[in-house]
Symmetry: C2
Subunit: 346 residues, 2 copies
DNA sequence: TGTTTTTACTAACACGTGTTAGTAAATCAA
DNA sequence: TTGATTTACTAACACGTGTTAGTAAAAACA
C-alpha cells in the first residue's frame, strides 16, 4: 500500500553482483564498451526483478537535458475554449514529441497575466518552447530567442525573424474566393474571422483581395465586414450585407463558426443557400459537414501544424539547424453544398 | 547568442561572499534560520545580477518531488478531435495546478497502443496522474493505484474503488427529460451519445429511464436509438424515430453533436422544432446556442471537472486524504428555442 | 615465450540542489 | 564576570545518474 521504495541502479548493481557503472552500461546499450553476455543477462534480470526505472531527475541533472518540450498557450481562456483546433494541434505536438523521446509540458498563460513562462526555460524544466498565439507585445519570447533558447512559434509575429510554423492563410483564402469566382460570382463579400488588428485576420483578407484582383473584379470596401470569432458577429455582419446597397451573391467568411451565424441570417431573410447566396467558410471544423447546408470551407492541417512545430523545435534543441526559418502549410478546399447544390448528401 | 552558461547557486555564493548554504537559506525563505538583513540583501542582489534560477533537476533530485502532474488522455485521436470539452478540462487542470505550484505534463495514449503511461511515474517525471477516459481493460492504472501512486480518474471505472471526478450524467439526463415532461410531452424518445457499452452512455440512458418512471410514463424500447458521437448517427437515428410506428413528440439526445444531425433529419422531414418535435441535447457545446433553432441542452462543468481533478490529485500527493473517493459534479439545464418557442433571440 | 592488444569490468568524479550537524561570535541572564 | 543562550553563518552529506580514466585478466600476435 505505502509507496514501495524506488529501487536505484545501486540496488540493481548489488543484486547482480556488479558495479553501478556496469549497470549503466548495460541499460544504456552503450557502444564502444564491451560487456560479456553473461553479466548483461544478469543485470537485465536484476533490473527486471527490482522493477528498476532510472530516475528522471538524476538523469537530467547529469545530462543537462530535460527531454521535454514546453507547449505554451498564450491565449486567454475564452480563446482557448473557442478554438476547435487546439486538441488537434496539441495531439500533433504530442505525437512528434513522443516519437523522438520527448515529453510535453503544457502551460496556459493568460496574456493579461504578468506571470510568464520563461521560468520553464530558466529552471530547465524544458529544452525548448513552442509558443502558440504569439503576441506583439511579448518581449519575453524575443529575449529567450536572443539568448539562443530553442523557440518555435505556432503562428506568426510580424517584424521578427523568429522561426515559425503557420498555415498559409492568404493562399487558402485566395483558393476559397477563386472557387466562388469560378462558379460565376461577381459580387463577392467577405466577413473576417476577427478584427483586422489580428494577423490571421489580415492574411485572410489579403487573400480575398488578391483573388479579386487576379480576376479583375473590383473590391468594394462596403463588402468587407468584421467578425469576432462568434456566430453572433456573423449573424450581424451578414444582415448588414443583405441590407446593404449592393447585395452580394456570394460570401467568403474566414471562420466556420462565424459562418454558422451568417447562415442563420440568410435563412431568416428567407433566402436559400446556395441559390441566393453562396458561402465559403474557413477552418473546416468537425461540424461544418453537418451545417445546413453542409459548408464549403478551407481545411486547415491542424494536426500537421503541431507535428511540424514539435519536429522543428526538437531539431533546434539537437543543434541541427533549420533549412528555413519559416514553414507555411497549405490548406485544402472542401466543396460542399453551400456553394454547389448538385452534390449527393452523405 | 550562444546559450549563456547557466549560473548556479555556487556562483551566487561566490559573488555575495557567502556559502552556498546561505544562498539556499535566503532564497527559500527558510524559517527557523536567521540571516542578517545585510547578507540577505547581498545574496538577493547577487542572484538578480547573475539571473540565477535554481535548476529543477537538482531540486527534484534532492526533494524527490517533481511538482508535476501527469494528464493522460487515454482516448484515440479521433475521440480527442471530436471532444469539444477537452480544452476546457485541460485548462481547468492547468489552472488548479498552477495555483498550487505544479506543472502539467500532457500525454496522449492511444488505447490500442501497448506503450503505456506508467513510465511517467516509474521514472519520477510526475508525482501523480490524472487519467482521462479510463478503460475497463486498463490494468496499468489499477496497478499504480495499488502501489499507492496518487491517481485520479476523469470519468468513472465501474467495479473499482479508484477515486474519480465525473459529471453527474444520470442526474443531468433526468433533468433534461423532466423538462420535456413538464412541457407536457408524453411520448419522449432518446438517442444516446454513444454505444451503450460506454459507461457515459449508460448513465445518460438511466437518467432518461428514471425520469420517465418518476412521471409514470412508459419507456418503450423502440424509442431508444443509439448514436455514436457523430451527427450522421443522429441523422439516421432521428429518421428511424420519425418513420417508426410511434412517432415521438420530443427527443432527448445525449450529445449536442449528435443532435445537430437529428435537427437536419427533422427539417428534411418537413417538420418544425419545437412545434412538431421538441429536442433537448447534452453537453452545451459552444455552437449549441447558434443551432437553428438554438438548442436546449445540459451544460457540463468541463472547466470545473479539470479543476477538481487536479485539486484532488494534488491533495493525494501532499498526503492529505480525500473526504470522499468520488466527486459527481452537477449539470445545468439551458433552455433555448428547441423546446420553448417564445424566447427572445439574442 | 614475451609483448601487445583487446576484453570486461570498476573507482571516482560531476551534475546542482536542500538540509543536518556543527561552530564561532554575539548577546543575554544572573 | 561567568555561564547560557541566541545569532549568523558554514562544512559536509545525500539525492541518482552518466561518464572518464584506469586496471587486471584474457586473448592475440610474433
Amino acid at each position: 500500500m505505502s509507496p514501495a521504495k524506488r529501487s536505484t541502479s545501486r540496488d540493481v548493481a548489488k543484486l547482480a553482483g556488479v558495479s553501478r557503472t556496469t549497470v549503466s552500461f548495460v541499460l544504456n546499450q552503450n557502444e564502444g564498451v564491451s560487456i560479456s553476455a553473461a553479466t548483461r543477462k544478469r543485470v537485465l534480470k536484476a533490473a527486471k526483478k527490482l522493477n528498476y526505472h532510472p530516475d528522471a531527475a538524476g538523469r537530467k541533472l547529469v545530462s543537462g537535458k530535460s527531454d521535454t518540450l514546453g507547449l505554451v498557450l498564450h491565449q486567454s481562456p475564452e480563446q482557448v475554449f473557442a478554438d476547435a483546433f487546439l486538441p488537434r494541434v496539441i495531439l500533433g505536438v504530442e505525437q512528434a514529441a513522443m516519437q523522438r523521446g520527448f515529453h510535453v509540458l503544457l502551460k496556459q498563460v493568460d496574456p493579461k497575466d504578468k506571470n510568464g513562462y520563461a521560468r520553464l526555460i530558466r529552471e530547465n524544466h524544458v529544452d525548448g518552447i513552442i509558443l502558440s498565439g504569439p503576441r506583439q507585445d511579448d518581449d519575453e519570447i524575443l529575449r529567450l530567442y536572443r539568448e539562443g533558447v530553442p523557440v518555435m512559434l505556432l503562428g506568426q509575429l510580424p517584424d521578427s525573424n523568429l522561426p515559425f510554423v503557420d498555415v498559409n492563410a492568404a493562399s487558402g483564402a485566395q483558393t476559397a474566393v477563386r472557387h466562388l469566382i469560378e462558379l460565376g460570382h461577381k459580387r463577392i463579400a467577405m466577413i473576417t474571422n476577427a478584427p483586422l488588428s489580428y494577423t490571421s485576420s489580415q492574411q485572410r483578407r489579403d487573400g480575398y483581395l488578391q483573388a479579386l484582383r487576379s480576376a479583375d473584379l473590383e473590391a468594394h470596401p462596403g463588402l468587407i465586414k468584421e467578425g469576432n470569432y462568434t456566430p453572433a458577429s456573423g449573424y450581424q455582419a451578414m444582415n448588414e450585407l443583405l441590407n446593404g446597397s449592393l447585395r452580394p451573391t456570394a460570401v467568403f467568411i474566414a471562420s466556420d463558426v462565424v459562418a454558422m451565424g451568417a447562415i442563420l441570417a440568410v435563412r431568416r431573410a428567407g433566402l436559400r443557400l446556395p441559390e441566393d447566396v453562396a458561402m465559403v467558410g474557413f477552418d473546416d471544423i468537425p461540424l461544418a459537414e453537418y451545417f445546413d447546408p453542409p459548408l464549403t470551407t478551407i481545411r486547415l492541417p491542424a494536426f500537421g501544424l503541431g507535428l511540424a512545430a514539435a519536429e522543428r523545435v526538437i531539431q533546434l534543441i539537437q543543434g541541427k539547424g533549420l533549412d528555413s526559418n519559416e514553414v507555411l502549410m497549405e490548406t485544402e478546399l472542401i466543396v460542399r453544398e453551400s456553394t454547389v447544390r448538385n452534390l449527393t448528401h452523405a
